[in-house]
């Protein structure tokens, strides 16, 4: 069951990622990226990380991508033009080559490192998994062991807000 769901949503992920590369208009690429994030949220659910899945949908797909869509709408970005000095052969051969090369490399590494022997989603994860991935256990870790990075990221977000407001302001 987990395998079937993984294959379906993995295929959706990869399909949407390739669609992002293939589309000419940035709004289509943005929508493909939202599909990627949605299917990744489902994969996080399969991996038992339900809080991360919810945060992925709320923050990443529901706020960051809205920002992207707003900017594309505001700037009225048109279709992309391919300038004459980009080589089509390089793109047609190089893109699948890169993807395939990286996939094969990871596969080989994983086989040799023995990651294939242990399967995720088996009975070991399901039993006693009430405490794994649910908000209170993640929160315990976040607010005790990782309190300093948490506070630092809040300062980072404040700096980002100030920077974005200053940069995007019209010079009056």
């Amino acid at each position: 069951m987990h395998l079937v769901l993984f294959l379906i949503f993995g295929a959706v992920c990869v399909g949407a990622a390739i669609n992002l590369l293939v589309q000419k208009h940035p709004i289509n690429s943005a929508l493909s990226l939202i599909v990627v994030m949605g299917s990744l949220a489902v994969l996080y659910l399969l991996l038992g990380a339900e809080f991360v899945a919810a945060v992925q949908v709320i923050v990443y797909a529901g706020a960051v991508m809205v920002l992207f869509v707003f900017v594309i709408m505001l700037l009225n970005a048109g279709e992309e033009e391919v300038l004459p000095h980009s080589s089509r052969v390089a793109i047609v051969l190089g893109v699948p080559g890169l993807i395939l090369g990286l996939a094969v490399g990871i596969w080989v590494v994983a086989r040799y490192a023995g990651f294939d022997r242990i399967a995720i989603g088996g009975p070991r994860v399901l039993s006693g998994s009430e405490g794994f991935g649910n908000p209170s256990s993640v929160a315990k870790l976040l607010f005790r062991d990782y309190l300093l990075p948490f506070e630092v990221t809040s300062v980072l977000v404040l700096i980002a807000i100030l920077g974005a407001v200053v940069l995007a302001r019209r010079e009056e």
């Binding site: 929508l31 809080f51 919810a54 809205v66 707003f70 709408m73 649910n134 209170s136």
Partner: protein, 344 residues
């Protein structure tokens, strides 16, 4: 219970929920027109059936038979996707809302909720976040300046008030200790002094309740926050170029969102299905659902009442209200609630 029984029971629950929700949405339109009419000292729809009862049916038939005009200059894929997205997200939210306690029908013991996930509240917040895309893409794909402006304003408003909405719910979470809506309702059981129920609105989340109500009115684009779709402002805002069934889908999505907000408010702040339960066992099984429905209807009535009474905010007043008043107030509410709970 076996997987087959579980699937069958879930399908039955989904069908019942969809029927009730869609009928409720249709009759909310009638209720709105009649209540607003009575506020304005007139009758409202009263011709089509006794007290205008068949008016929603007539409206539905009208929508189906209207000519579906798709302007030639729209960006077709997104134009068709936007109402579907809005309606899907609005209707899916009913899946995690608990209507009643566990019931036993024959040999099947099941909760009155389609999906009792332990992150129920986050699911609803996530669906609201994705619902913004329906509005944004509708306006952009329509390729007309009214739609574009209306949708930019509407989505900016929705995104801003989502923050106040989420933060107002954190106070309730701190009290209940769980994201699951069923656990939040169960944490409100019991009474003070024997007759005042321990609902969250009475045990200190009063301010959170009002922040939630105001943020929810802004999220669902209702008066007093409905500038993006006011007829006197921007023709019809982001759904200017939509006609017939697609417009009906936006319309239904707005009312379904109202329903979700009302259900969520009654679950989080008014104790869900909790209320005095008495009588023979059949009455005892039905009474919690009756209390829940009464609370939801009370909310919908308040929604319509506010619509008939208040003028609308100007856009800059609206944004200032969301960012400069509700957001700091929600954070203050969280801090005070956390302090109270920590010192217990």
């Amino acid at each position: 219970m076996t997987i087959g029984t579980y699937i069958l029971v879930s399908i039955i629950k989904i069908v019942i929920a969809m029927l009730v929700l869609l009928t409720g949405v249709a009759y909310t339109t009638l209720a709105e027109r009649k209540v607003v009419a009575h506020i304005q000292n007139r009758w409202g729809p009263s011709r089509v059936g006794p007290f205008g009862v068949w008016q929603p049916l007539a409206d539905g038939l009208k929508f189906i038979f209207k000519e579906d005009v798709t302007p030639p200059f729209v960006y077709r894929p997104l134009y068709l996707l936007a109402p579907v997205l809005s309606l899907t997200m609005a209707l899916t939210a009913i899946a995690v809302i608990p209507v009643g306690p566990w019931v036993s029908v024959g040999s099947v013991h099941t909760p009155l909720q389609i999906a009792d996930v332990n992150i129920g509240l986050l699911v609803i917040l996530g669906l609201t976040s994705i619902g913004v895309y329906g509005v944004a893409l509708a306006g952009w794909s329509s390729n007309s300046k009214y739609s574009m402006l209306g949708s930019l304003r509407a989505s900016a408003q929705m995104v801003s008030y989502e923050i106040a909405l989420g933060l107002s719910l954190v106070g309730v979470l701190i009290y209940s200790g769980s994201f699951s809506l069923r656990d939040i309702v169960m944490a409100q059981s019991g009474t003070f002094l024997g007759f005042i129920p321990k609902w969250n609105i009475f045990t200190g989340q009063f301010i959170a309740f009002f922040i939630y109500i105001m943020a929810a009115y802004a999220e669902t684009n209702r008066i007093p926050f409905d500038l993006p779709e006011a007829e006197t402002e921007l023709v019809a805002g982001y759904h200017t170029e939509y006609s017939s069934m697609k417009f009906a889908m936006f319309f239904m999505a707005e009312y379904a969102n109202m329903f979700t907000v009302a259900c969520l408010a009654s679950v989080l702040f008014l104790g869900g299905w909790l209320g005095p339960v008495f009588g023979p066992p059949l009455l005892q099984a039905v009474l919690p659902v009756v209390w829940f429905v009464l609370k939801v209807l009370a909310f919908i009535f308040i929604y319509i009442w506010v619509r008939g009474t208040l003028p609308r905010f100007r856009y800059d007043q609206l944004m200032a209200f969301g960012w400069k008043f509700l957001f700091p107030l929600a954070i203050a509410n969280i801090m005070v609630t956390a302090l109270v709970v920590a010192l217990r």
